[in-house]
Structure formats: C-alpha cells, structure tokens
Symmetry: C2
Subunit: 407 residues, 2 copies
Amino acid sequence: MKKIHGGVASPLGFKASGMHCGVRVSRRNDLALIFSNRPCQAAGVFTTNKVQASCVVINKQHLISGRAQAIIANSGNANCMTGKQGFRHSKEIIQTVAHELKVSPKSILIAATGVIGKLLPIKKILTAIPELVENLSRKGSARAAQGIMTTDHVVKEVAAECMIGNRPVRIGAIAKGAGMIHPEMALSSRKHATLLCFVTTDAAIEAEALRSALSAAVQDSFNLITIDRDMSTNDMVLVLANGAARNVRIEKDSKNLEKFVATLSALFLALAKLMVRDAEGATKFVEIMVKNAESATDARAVARSVASSNLLKCALFGSDPNWGRIAAAAGSAAANVDPWKMRIHIGNILVVKNGGGVVRDNRKLDRIFSRKNIRIVVDLGVGPSSATAYTCDLSTEYVRFNSAYKT
Amino acid sequence: MKKIHGGVASPLGFKASGMHCGVRVSRRNDLALIFSNRPCQAAGVFTTNKVQASCVVINKQHLISGRAQAIIANSGNANCMTGKQGFRHSKEIIQTVAHELKVSPKSILIAATGVIGKLLPIKKILTAIPELVENLSRKGSARAAQGIMTTDHVVKEVAAECMIGNRPVRIGAIAKGAGMIHPEMALSSRKHATLLCFVTTDAAIEAEALRSALSAAVQDSFNLITIDRDMSTNDMVLVLANGAARNVRIEKDSKNLEKFVATLSALFLALAKLMVRDAEGATKFVEIMVKNAESATDARAVARSVASSNLLKCALFGSDPNWGRIAAAAGSAAANVDPWKMRIHIGNILVVKNGGGVVRDNRKLDRIFSRKNIRIVVDLGVGPSSATAYTCDLSTEYVRFNSAYKT
C-alpha cells in the first residue's frame, strides 16, 4: 500500500470541509461535508441494529440508485429515536446541502453520531451549511474528520494509491469510533458511539464491484473490532467513487478488483486499529488471532467472542494473566472449539495445550500481560481458517466515563 | 409457594455438610456434600460452553442412567482446563466419596467453581472427605451452601413445599453466583464464576418428567440472568429426587408436574434474583421486562440483550437515565423489534413511544434511575409473548475486582 496525504480530498475531484456549529457544547468541530465535483458510484454498509437512526434509513433509500455526490455528517447527536421529527430534520439538512451544492437531494448521503433520543438543534445546523459549503477545499479532510469525532482523541484519516491498469487510483477515508463499538454492518441491513467511515476514491468502478469491495473490506476490519460489545444504531461506512482517475473500469471478479479490495482493506484495517487504540478508557491494545478454525465464520466468531469478554478485558486492565478467561470465552462462541485441540499463546508464550495450562515461567507471562500491546493467539487445531479481532481492556475509566455520558 | 426451612436437607432422606479443607486460602468453607439415604432419580443441565470442566463431562456420563445419590462440590478452583490430570482428580474425589458413603462411584455427581487452569490441591480434598461425610446432617444445608460460595457475600438457600395428590412434597436448593454469570444451560449440552445450583426433593417423579421440569424451570430463571455476559465452563444445576414423600408418582404432561414445575420455578427465580443482588461489584438490581414480543424466544432475546448492555449498565451505575442505550440494546437482539411500535417505561414513566422520546419530567426520571431497584419495561408491540431478565449495573468496583482475580 502506497500511503498518500490528503485524506478524503486526496482522490481527484473531491473536496471536504468541517466546522463548529453548536451541536456540541464544546468548541470542537461538529459538522463535516465531503463533495465530489461530479456524480459518483456509491455504496454503503449499515448497522444491523433494528433500531436505526433516520440517516441510516434515508441513505438506504438514496443508495438504491447506486449514485451519490456528497456526504453531510454531524457529531454530538445521533438523531436516533427522535420520531418523525428526527426524519424531518434529516431531510431539511439534505435539502439545504443539496440547494447550496446545486445538486439533487437524492445525491446527498447523511450521517450522525452522538447521544440517542435528543432532537437536533436544527437551526444551528441549517444556518451553518452555507459556510460549510463555502469552505469546501482540497485541504479540508482533517477538518471534516474532526467534525465527526465524539469521544475520539485522535483524528482518523488515511489515504493510499494503487495502480489499476496503467493509471494511479487514489482512495481516501476518514473515520471515528471510541465507544458503542461492536459493529456488524451489512450491505442492506440493519445495528450505536457509532462507527462512521467515509471513503472517497477517484477510481472508475462498476456498481456491483464497488458493493462487493466494500462488503469484503468491512468484514475483516471494522466488523472484527469491539470496544464494548454494544452495537450502535448509526454505524455506517459510505463510499463515493467518481471515476476521475480515468482508469479502465474495475469490473466484478477481476484482478483489478482484487487490487482495489486489497488497498481498501488495508485502509480499513488501519482505521479499525486506530479506533481501538483510541477507545474510551482503553489503556491497552489487544490483538486476538484465531488460527486453524474449521471455517472463516468460526474463526471470526471465536476471535470476536474472546475480544468481547468483559472478564478477560478486566484482567487485561489489571495485567492479571488469567488465561482461563481466554479459553472460556473461546468455548462460548458458536463455533467448533475442542479444548483438547486448542492451543493458546500469549505473546510468544504457549499457555494452553492438551486441555490444560503449560506455563512454566509465570513472571515472563506477567511481563507480557503488563505490556501496552498484547497479542493472543488461539489455535483451534480443527481446520484451515483464521481471523484476527482487535479489542482493548475494560478500565475503571471506561465505566466512570460512560456512567455520566448524557448528563 | 409455601416456604420451609432446611434448604437441601429439608426434603425427607437428605443430609448435607460443608467444611474448609484448604482449596481456598481464606478460612471460608470450600467443600460441600449432599447425600440421599436412598438412590434418586437425577437430572442436570449444564453450560453450553464448548470448554467444559471435567465435572461437567463426568456428570453427563453419570446421568445417562438417570440415577444418582450424592453431590460433592468444591469452591476456589474450577478444575477446568487442567488436562487429563484434572479428570483424574475429579475421579479420585468421586471414588473417595463413594467409598466413604458406601455407594457406587456412578451414583456420585461432582461440581467445582473458581479459577480456571489450576490443578486442585487434591490431597487436601481427599484427606477432608471422611470428615465431610461424618458431618452429614439434617442441619447441614447452610454449611454446604457456604462451601460452594466464591465471590458471593450471601448464602443462597431456599426450600418450599407443595402438595402432590394428598401428600406434601418438599424441594430444597442451594446455589452460588457472583461473576462470570451469563448462563445458557441445556439438558445435555455444553457453556464459566459459575452458576451452581443443587436441588433436592423427596418427590417421587418419573425420569422424563424430572428432566422436563428442570429444563422448564431453568429457562425462565437462571438462563435469564446476566452479570457480566461471560459464560462459564462450569455452570450446572443438578436435581436429586428420592421419592421419600411417597406421593403418587409425578408423570409427564400431568397436572401434578405443572404444580411441581411451578414450585421449582419459584425457587429458581428466588435464587436467580439472590445471585444478581449479590453480583460482583453490583450497586443496583435491575429488572428488564419485555412484553408483547412476537415469540417467547424473541422476548427472551431482547430481555437478555438489554440486560447485557455494558453501556446501559454503566449508565445505571452512574444513575444517568440514558434510555437511548435501552433502545439500542433492544434493537441489537436477534428478534423482531420495530422502533415505531416499541414503548419503553423506566419505573412508571413512559420514556419512548412512536419512535422517539416522550419524557417531560427529567427530574422524576433522574430520581427513578437513582434507586437501588430499577424496573425497565420494553413493550415491543408486535405479539403476545413476554419474558423478564435480571441484571445489575457495571461498576468501577467490578472492574477493579476482576482486574486482580487470579493474582
């Protein structure tokens, strides 16, 4: 992957902007806008929560055409469980952005993240939109990335270039995470902080190829991270492809699609890891690699189950090498797990084989568990498949922070 | 339900004992024994974790006959993920108890709870067994209940009487809980603290009727509580029915079975609530009632999902009435949830209807969220079924406690 600068404004034809309008009490940015100077092939994956914000419902309708040209997003308020008024607010935002950009409302996608159940300060947003549009710039990606942050500390922005045929194609993305992160996103389906990721590319790509690229790249990145096992109502990844690179069009089941997916996957994985490193209250970054599972589905289920265990995450917080909790969490997954075949490594130390513990040097294990970056490998020994999930510890700070989120 | 005294030793023909042998470092009891003076009809439900302690595997074998006469249990060590040596230890304990009780090893059931992956101090246990048997008494139930406690603060012991035909039949039970509590137990299946519950009854009951009674009673009690969403490797509920009440034998699909199940269910629910009230670090007791679900399965799934939400549980800890997290957790369940039809009450205050919030008096809601006992009702509005789950808050104390469990 060849990294480049400029985030979502690095692909040709894209501009971005971000600003503060007052949805958030603090002076941090709370609005983001991404715009392509020409219509795009567009696709999205969305939360599979049955309680969905108006933005999720509206985007699905807008994406039926497979076409879009801009993404408007706010942080500080998820505009979810806000009844019909919430839907009207989303539509007013879309109308205003479309009017200012001089495009059809149908070509606008919308996103939101923040508290659930509170009406948006709609006048503040509508009043700010002309300035937001005015500020669109080839250098606006970082400001847009700031505009979607909630409890994030770090701006999440990446971009890379890959060759399709003899033409360079650029992909840029911004994202946010931090809490209520346990995404299970699907192409046309239904699931709250919320994971948002907006992708731009100047690649020329056929509609079905774009959808399958997005779906594949999400599966082994965002859908394999967990911060608190709570699935959001607003999770979405949106991609806009405007074709400005003038490459030979990427078709389904092609070598070029494989290259595009590889670059997209690498960008998503980088963003997914940034989210976990920036998770609410987290003091550790933990990689759970599952090997030799019966199927890819099993590998993913076991990796996500171990990564989700509150007890393991408390042990990680306390640097208490309680590996029994790894074994128990693996066994609770809906997958083929045979304790007699399972091997568990923590760092480079084998801790479990033949159905029992094999640790000789507890001090070495203590040292590994005290690190800020911990890698756990669960070798199921029953098949050919693997998957890696990413998680963090569960800290007293996480509990304190989330016990006073709304008030 | 007519409550009676004596716990597991209240049914005719049963004795119990408990003592300290040294599995636990503290001087608290760590061994428990229950014995019937005659062979019993026996049944058990076990964790559905694929990583199972030797005691779970052995009991399933012993219960194939449907017959047993005694239950031996230790706390302080789960004897799980202890390899073949762990199995040998379980069998040595069974052999020694059988020898002292002068019954067949096949008639002994065994249980354990505590840390995973550590070999039992087997000599201490074997040496103590003669005294444990010696101390069997009609007044030994509370000592036995103490013997299975780990992080529990409260002894969990109940007993009741019901009339079968014209004869009184007694049912007694002891249990423990406190952490790693998210049971999904099934009759002959596979799932870690661990939930243990031992039931005795002097009812005469046919084998299949006993199994179906146990299965039914567990579904709407133990299987609907959650403390930390971590499923144990050692969960089990065992029941011994010795027929000493000389009632007309309870048959499958009979009115008498319904009466027996009603009493058993009431006892299990009382114990399940005791477990949640005594949960690690818990400061609140929370009831999640789901009404008007499409099916009983849906009602249970939504109730468990809301009860399991880390974010909601943090909000409960902080008395922060963040009802959006209730809606999001309901929507993430694998069930028919329509946000436009869902109504949510917290205490007696309607907070959600028509897809949005309806709270007028936030101070009243704050007061209800500050209580020690909170009832949340999620009315799905799509069908006839209901279920109630029980949970606690997620406290900084829970995290602190479980970050230094092993060391």
